[in-house]
């Protein structure tokens, strides 16, 4: 840990994971400091999603160590729930609760997990909805919203828990081009407010603009890691060069 509030909030040490015989993660070692925005890119099947899903234990790593905010992830249920309430996650498919209104989606976990009163939870939800510009949708059901609006509700639902770290698993991949911008804008604002973020995405513009660090993964390992300038102007590894040449 160093000073200025720049402590290491996520530590991964030789994290390995298999699905049957297939090794999805072949030893991931890296550290994320508080307030850092890390963008993870790489071809599909490279283990990006698997890795960040290990950080809130939606996937269970089999070897190595993951320490989140000073707590090591083990099979101890109490630790897992504690970490999950500190780590927010936004999914590719939004995963809003279709039987609840937007407001209920955002207040449910606040009242049951954070033990807030209903009034506090609703105030918090309304303030956050206003921040992402959809306060007038609070009484609707998720099915009545556009994809971009749904993803902003999902973001709000996570932020309402006051997480210290936010994970994004391809948050714009299921959206129409016109709606990608509204979600990215909300994420950029969040990054500027000092949130620690790990973002799996294919949006290179986002990476260039707000990332502190870019990680390129292939075949379950980190191939190259560096600042956006390094990445987009002077990539070193042949695999990175090939990947970037295909998507830029």
């Amino acid at each position: 840990m160093s000073d200025n509030g720049k402590k290491d909030i996520v530590i991964c040490d030789d994290v390995k994971k298999w699905f049957g015989d297939f090794q999805a993660l072949r030893g991931i070692s890296t550290t994320v400091r508080e307030g850092e925005v890390v963008v993870i890119i790489g071809p599909s099947g490279s283990g990006k999603s698997t890795w960040i899903r290990c950080i809130n234990r939606l996937e269970v790593h089999q070897e190595g160590r993951i320490v989140v905010d000073g707590i090591e992830l083990t099979s101890d249920v109490k630790n897992i729930e504690k970490i999950r309430s500190e780590v927010g996650m936004v999914f590719q498919q939004f995963n809003l609760f279709p039987h609840l209104t937007v407001l209920q989606n955002i207040t449910l976990a606040q009242t049951w997990v954070r033990k807030r009163t209903k009034r506090d939870a609703e105030e918090k939800a309304k303030a956050l909805l206003e921040r992402v510009g959809i306060q007038e949708q609070a009484a609707k059901y998720p099915g009545q919203l556009s994809g971009g609006q749904q993803q902003r509700v999902a973001l709000t639902r996570s932020l309402a828990m006051d997480p210290r770290i936010m994970l994004f698993d391809e948050p714009t991949s299921a959206l129409d081009p016109e709606m990608i911008k509204e979600v990215l804008d909300a994420m950029k604002e969040l990054a500027r407010s000092g949130m620690t973020m790990l973002v799996v995405t294919h949006e290179m513009g986002f990476a260039r603009e707000v990332a502190d660090r870019v990680i390129f993964m292939d075949q379950g390992q980190i191939v190259e890691e560096g600042t956006p300038e390094h990445f987009f102007t002077d990539p070193q590894h042949d695999r990175t060069k090939l990947f970037l040449s295909q998507i830029l």
Partner: protein, 581 residues
């Protein structure tokens, strides 16, 4: 080379084109006589239909049919075996149910879906059926001319009504109050003008008026309270009133107050007070201490069976332990704690009531079964549904649980019960189970059979609910977990509500078969509706030889109920938007 094209002004949306009205002749030509082949099929089926209808009507209206036995045995059909001197209790039950039905209609549906246009269509269909009956019925049906003329009149009335009214008035929705008032008025008029139910006109009229009063009370309440709490209160009144009707109003319980105050009351008071304290402490404890306390509660719940405590104490301790197990998850915040304590106090009062009244001797019991007929059928169906639904949900959760012991027990139960015919379950429940219970326990045979039906139906419902749970996308579980919810919270708040919505059609199917399956309890000696139709009425000296009439009547009654269940489920599905998520 194409020149670029720019639309300077975007068009506003236009209304859809009006559906073209087609006449009867065009409709016939299009749908029945479109080609040579379809004309031939239409003619053949038309002729077959004509002879079939003629045959059925000829059978129904033949001179030797003894339809008069059905109104004559109306009381047998309703309550068979119940002491006639206490029949006022049955009427009181009907009054309560109709009051609550009227109240619920006002609370859930203040404006109906019915419009004048659909009423007119209903009148027209009724008229056409009457005309058909009038034309096709055999000569032995003396009123066939009247039926045809009345039918023609109804068709003409609805046709003229639609022609003379303007379109807006026709499609406007009629307030439920209007329908309730008209329906009640119509029923009362029929009661007093036609020679049916001539001895029971007054109590029926009172019951109908009570239903309308319930509706008015509901309308008054809708304006005054928020809809959510109001509906919760009405559901709670329903749930409490059903056992009260069965245990208290329809019987005349003779309570052994010396036993109750001497040996029961200390237990009830001690467990209630201790339970309040335990839940309050558990809700303020951290996980470990709550876990230790709950482990002690589970052991105490098992241990109380080894000492000679009254059954009410065992039941109370069981309820307390279940609530205490749920407290760390649902009762640790301020509101949660208050709700948990209120649930415990209400639950303790309810369980004590059931045991004090239910265990008492009954002054009305002239024989083992103190009533039968449609009342018993309704009791078995409603009770079976209300008890087997929660049991089925628990079994489904057990079978999908990650804990092997719950999975094993639930799977074993479901597979064993589903592999056994209902009749076997009923025999075991009625005669077999008594061998396994402590000797001093006595059970009303109706309650034993209700237990059998519940146990059977729960296994099937469990499989339906499990299907619903499996249809929930993986992302829902992941989102709930990522928010830090515990497994219990995820199940109760996210996955189970969605699963139940998804399986409403399957659950209603199960309810329909449960309702019809109640007819099997005739085999273990209970005089429910079907047995009244098959054995009891045709063996009355004044109704000998009326077996076919009674069976047809029974079939019609079962059909009316099940058809309405299925319509109610369709409405419920539409309202919850199943399939349009």
């Amino acid at each position: 080379m194409t020149t670029p094209r720019v639309t300077t002004e975007l068009r506003p949306p236009e209304p859809p084109p009006e559906a073209s009205q087609i006449g009867a002749v065009v409709w016939l030509r299009r749908n029945l006589f479109g080609s040579v082949a379809s004309s031939i099929v239409s003619v053949i089926l038309g002729v077959a239909l004509f002879f079939m209808l003629r045959g059925i009507l000829g059978f129904l209206f033949a001179e030797e049919r003894l339809w008069e036995v059905i109104p004559r045995n109306a009381t047998n059909y309703a309550i068979e075996g119940y002491p006639r001197s206490n029949i006022a209790r049955i009427w009181l039950s009907l009054d309560i149910v109709l009051f609550l039905a009227g109240l619920s209609m006002a609370v859930w549906k203040p404006t109906g879906r019915t419009s004048l246009a659909s009423l007119a269509a209903g009148v027209r269909s009724l008229g056409m059926v009457l005309v058909l009956v009038g034309v096709l019925a055999p000569d032995s049906f003396q009123s066939r001319g009247v039926a045809a003329v009345v039918g023609l009149g109804l068709v003409a009335l609805s046709y003229l009504g639609v022609r003379l009214s303007d379109a807006a008035a026709l499609t406007e929705r009629i307030p439920t109050l209007g329908l309730v008032a008209a329906g009640a008025g119509g029923l009362v008029a029929v009661l007093w003008l036609l020679p049916i139910a001539s001895t029971t006109r007054i109590p029926y009229t009172i019951a109908i008026v009570v239903g309308v009063v319930g509706h008015l009370v509901g309308r008054a309440a809708v304006g005054r309270f928020a809809p959510g709490p109001l509906r919760a209160i009405v559901v709670a009144i329903w749930l409490v009133s059903l056992p009260v009707i069965y245990l208290h109003i329809q019987r005349n319980p003779v309570v052994d107050w010396d036993t109750v105050t001497g040996s029961w009351l200390p237990w009830i008071a001690a467990i209630t007070i201790a339970g309040t304290g335990i839940i309050a402490v558990v809700s303020r404890s951290d996980r470990e201490r709550a876990g230790v306390m709950n482990a002690v509660m589970v052991i105490a719940t098992i241990a109380i069976w080894t000492i000679s405590a009254p059954m009410v104490a065992r039941a109370l301790l069981f309820v307390l332990t279940v609530l205490s197990l749920a407290t760390p998850t649902f009762g640790s915040s301020g509101v949660g704690r208050r709700n948990m304590l209120l649930t415990w106090l209400a639950g303790a009062a309810f369980v004590s009531y059931i045991f004090v009244i239910g265990d008492a001797g009954t002054g009305l019991a002239t024989r083992n079964e103190y009533y039968g007929g449609l009342s018993l059928t309704m009791m078995l169906a409603a009770g079976g549904l209300l008890l087997s639904l929660p049991m089925g949900i628990l079994l489904a959760l057990g079978r999908t649980s990650t804990m092997p012991i719950f999975r094993l027990l639930s799977t074993g139960y479901i597979e064993v019960v589903r592999g056994v015919p209902l009749i076997t379950v009923l025999f075991i429940a009625r005669f077999g189970i008594l061998n396994f219970l402590p000797e001093n326990l006595e059970f009303d045979p109706n309650v034993l059979v209700l237990g059998g039906i519940t146990a059977f139906s729960a296994a099937y419902l469990a499989e339906n609910v499990r299907g619903g749970l499996q249809s929930i996308p993986k992302g829902q579980y992941e989102a709930a977990k990522a928010l830090g919810m515990t497994t219990a919270q995820m199940t109760m708040l996210i996955t189970l509500p969605q699963a139940l919505r998804a399986v409403i059609p399957a659950i209603v199917g199960q309810v329909i078969s449960l309702f019809k399956d109640t007819s099997l309890v005739a085999i273990v000696g209970l005089a429910e509706f079907f047995r009244v139709a098959r054995d009891i009425v045709p063996n009355q000296t004044n109704s000998l030889g009326s077996i076919i009439e009674n069976l047809l009547f029974a079939a019609a009654v079962y059909w009316i109920f099940t058809y309405n269940f299925s319509r109610a489920s369709q409405r419920l599905e539409r309202r919850l938007g199943v399939g349009t998520r």
